[in-house]
Amino acid sequence: MAVKKFVVGSFDDEAVLFPAVKKVRAAGYKLHDVYTPFPVHGLDHAMGLRETSLHTAGFVYGITGTTTALSVMGWVFTTDWPMNIGGKPHFPLPAFIPITFELTVLFAAVGMVLTFCYLCQLAPFVKKHIFHPRQTDDLFVMAIEVTGKNGAAELKEFLSSVGAKEVNEQTAETGWWLGRYDQESRLYSEPVTVKA
C-alpha cells in the first residue's frame, strides 16, 4: 500500500456533511473516504458507493449449511451406518429439520462475519491510519486525496468553504498494517515514499 497525501476536513454535523460530499464529487476531487462515529444513512449513496453484496454471500453460506447438514446426516444414516433406531426410516426428513436449520444459520452467520472482516480488513492487531482522533466520537471526517490535478491549498480552501470546522494536511498509509495503537512504529519495514 502506498503512502499518500491527503487534505482532511472535519465536520461537526451530518447535515453539513451531505452537501459537502455532493460538492466534492461535483468538483471532481478524489474523495478518499468519509469517517463517521455512527452509520449515517444515505451517505454511501451520496458518496456514490456501490451497494454491498455481503447479504448475497450470506445466502450462499446458508445454502451451504443446509446441504452440508442434509448430506452428512443422509450419508451417515443411509450409507455409512444404517442403524435401525426404533424402527424409524433411514432418512427421516422431519427429524433432520432442526439440525439442518441450525447449521444453515450457523454457516450463514459465521461465513458472513468472516467475510465482513475480510472485506473491511478487520482483525486483531490490524492498525490503520486515524485521520482524526474524534472521528469515532463526534466528528465527521472527510479525507480528499491530493493529486497532481489539484494542490493542497486549493483543497483546503474548498473544504473550509463547504463548512469544515478544521482542515489540515496529512500523509498517510491508505491500507492496513500489523501494529499496535499504543505504538507509533510499524512492524514491517517499507520505505516511505510519498506519491505525488
Partner: protein, 478 residues
C-alpha cells in the same frame, strides 16, 4: 429504527441535554474511571459464589453423578431445570437485539448491548448443566458427530438431545458474533480517546482496526440486519428444540404439542425479567438513567405482562387438555400430582409468580415504578425457575409404576452448582460493566437526533407551527 422524524408526542429515548460527544462521555467514562466500592463488593461476592460452584462441580466429577440426588425415577432434577431456565434467560437478549431491530423498535438501542451480554453469559451457564449431567464429562466429545476410530459409530440425529447440542452451540456462536460485531465500533471509540498506553493497546486489539469508514459502516449495517434476520428464527428454534426434549417423550405432562410456543413465551418472559433486574442495577450504579429511561423499563414490563399472560394461557390449556383428552395418566399428573401432590407447593409458587403477580403491570403506575419492577423481575425469575422444576419433577416423581414413585430434593453439590452459575454469570456481568461500553454508543448516536429529549424540545415549536400552518392552508382551500 432510524426514522427521519419522530413526533414530539412520543416519549424521548435519551433524556437530558446531549450531543454526540456527551453520549460518548457518559457511556465510556465509567470504563476509564476506577470502579466504585459497590462494584468491588459485588464482584467479590460473585467470585465467592463461583468458587463454591467450582468446588461443587469438582465434587460431582470426582465422586460421580451419584452425589446428586437423582435416581431411576427422577433422572432429571436440578440440572435440567437449571439448564432450561438459564437458556430461557438468554432469550430476551436476542429478542431485544434481533427481533426489535427487525421491527424497527428504537427503544432497543438503550438496552441491547447489556441484554446481548446477558444472553452470552446465560448460555454459558446453561451449557454446563447437560455437560456435567453426562457424568463422565471427559467423554463429552462423544456428542459431536465426527468420523472416529471406534468404527463407524455416529450420534443419533433423530434425538432431540442431539438437536440441543446443535441448537445451543449455534445459538451461543451467533449471539457472540452479533454481540462482538456490534462492539467493534464502540471499542474503537474507547481506543481513540484512551489516555493510557495499556488501554490503547487492549482496545486497539479489541477494535480490530476499525476506523468508521463509510463503506465499513454500510457493510456493518448489512451484517447486523442479516444477523438479526438469522437470529430471530434462531431464538424461536432454540427453545422449541429444548421443549422437544420433553415433548417428544411419552411422559404424561411432557408430550404436548403446546410446548414449543409455551416454552418460547416463558423464555422471553424470564429473559425480560432478568434484563430488568440487571439494568435497574446497572443504570443506577453507572449513572445511565438518561439512556435507560423509565420508558425503556416500561416497554420491557409490557413484554413481561404479555408473555406472562401467554404462559398463563398455556398452563390453563394444559389443564383443560388433561381433562378433555380423557387419558387417566394425564389427568392424574396434572390434577392429582402436579397441582395437589407432595410437590404441589412448587406448582402454586409457579402459578402465583408467573400468572397472578405480573398482572400488576396492566397499570402504568406499576410499570413505571422502579421498585415494583425490580421486585417483580425477581418474582418472575423465581416463578419461571419453578415452572421448569414443576414440568420436570412433577411429571417424573409419579410415573406409570407406583412402585417407583419417589420424592426429590437436591443434594448440596446440586445446589452448589446452581449457585456457582450465578457466580459465573455475575462475575462475567461485573467485568462486562467495567470494561465494555454497556450501551451501544454508535447506535444511541444514530437515534439521538430523532429521539433525544433536547432535540425534541427544539422540534416542538416547529411542530406547533406546522399544525397552525396546516390548519391555515386547510381553511384556505375550502
Amino acid at each position: 429504527m432510524h426514522l427521519k422524524y419522530e413526533s414530539t408526542l412520543r416519549e424521548p429515548l435519551v433524556d437530558g441535554v446531549k450531543d454526540y460527544h456527551q453520549v460518548t462521555e457518559d457511556i465510556i467514562s465509567p470504563i476509564e474511571a476506577k470502579p466504585g466500592k459497590l462494584w468491588y463488593i459485588g464482584f467479590f461476592i460473585s467470585l465467592v459464589l463461583l468458587g463454591f460452584g467450582a468446588f461443587s462441580v469438582f465434587w460431582e466429577v470426582y465422586f460421580g453423578t451419584g452425589v446428586w440426588n437423582l435416581n431411576k425415577t427422577i433422572g432429571w432434577g436440578y440440572d435440567i431445570t437449571n439448564f432450561v431456565w438459564w437458556v430461557g434467560i438468554g432469550h430476551a437478549g436476542t429478542l431485544i437485539s434481533a427481533i426489535l431491530l427487525l421491527f424497527r423498535q428504537g427503544w432497543r438501542t438503550g438496552v441491547n448491548r447489556a441484554a446481548e451480554a446477558m444472553t452470552i453469559f446465560a448460555v454459558m451457564c446453561a451449557g454446563q448443566f447437560p455437560i456435567f449431567h453426562m457424568g463422565r464429562v471427559w467423554m463429552g466429545f462423544f456428542i459431536l458427530p465426527y468420523p472416529n476410530t471406534r468404527g463407524p459409530v455416529w450420534v443419533n440425529f433423530n434425538s432431540p438431545l442431539l438437536w440441543d447440542v446443535f441448537a445451543i452451540s449455534t445459538y451461543f456462536t451467533v449471539s457472540l458474533l452479533f454481540w462482538y460485531s456490534g462492539l467493534i465500533p464502540d471499542f474503537a471509540t474507547v481506543r481513540d480517546r484512551a489516555k493510557t498506553k495499556l488501554r490503547k493497546l487492549l482496545y486497539g486489539v479489541a477494535s480490530f482496526g476499525w476506523t468508521g469508514s463509510t463503506k465499513h459502516w454500510q457493510r456493518h449495517e448489512s451484517l447486523s440486519l442479516v444477523l438479526a434476520g438469522l437470529s430471530t428464527p434462531l431464538v424461536l428454534s432454540v427453545h422449541t428444540i429444548v421443549s422437544f426434549d420433553f415433548a417428544t417423550s411419552v411422559i404424561p405432562g411432557w408430550h404436548t404439542t403446546i410446548f414449543p410456543p409455551y416454552f418460547v413465551a416463558g423464555a422471553i418472559f424470564s429473559g425480560f425479567a432478568m434484563v430488568n433486574t440487571l439494568l435497574i442495577i446497572t443504570r443506577k450504579i453507572l449513572g445511565l438513567e438518561d439512556y435507560i429511561t423509565i420508558g425503556h423499563i416500561e416497554a420491557m414490563n409490557k413484554v413481561i405482562v404479555l408473555t406472562g399472560s401467554v404462559v398463563g394461557v398455556a398452563y390453563l390449556t394444559e389443564l383443560f387438555m388433561a381433562w378433555y383428552g380423557a387419558v387417566p395418566y394425564e389427568f392424574d399428573t396434572f390434577y392429582k400430582y402436579r397441582a395437589a401432590g407432595p410437590l404441589g407447593w412448587s406448582y402454586w409458587i409457579m402459578m402465583s409468580c408467573n400468572v397472578i403477580s405480573p398482572q400488576v403491570f396492566w397499570f402504568s403506575k406499576m410499570r413505571r415504578n422502579i421498585m415494583v419492577t425490580f421486585v417483580m423481575s425477581i418474582i418472575v425469575n423465581i416463578g419461571m425457575w419453578f415452572e421448569r422444576f414443576v414440568i420436570i419433577c412433577t411429571s417424573l416423581y409419579r410415573d406409570y409404576l407406583p412402585s417407583s414413585w419417589g420424592y426429590y430434593r437436591p443434594s448440596w453439590p446440586e445446589v452448589g452448582f446452581y449457585v456457582g452459575t450465578f457466580g459465573l454469570f455475575f462475575t462475567c456481568f461485573f467485568l462486562f460493566a467495567k470494561y465494555f461500553p454497556v450501551i451501544a454508543v454508535a447506535e444511541i448516536k444514530s437515534v439521538l437526533k430523532t429521539t433525544g429529549k433536547s432535540y425534541k424540545d427544539k422540534m416542538g415549536k416547529y411542530e406547533a407551527q406546522e399544525v397552525e400552518a396546516f390548519a391555515h392552508d386547510h381553511a384556505h382551500h375550502h
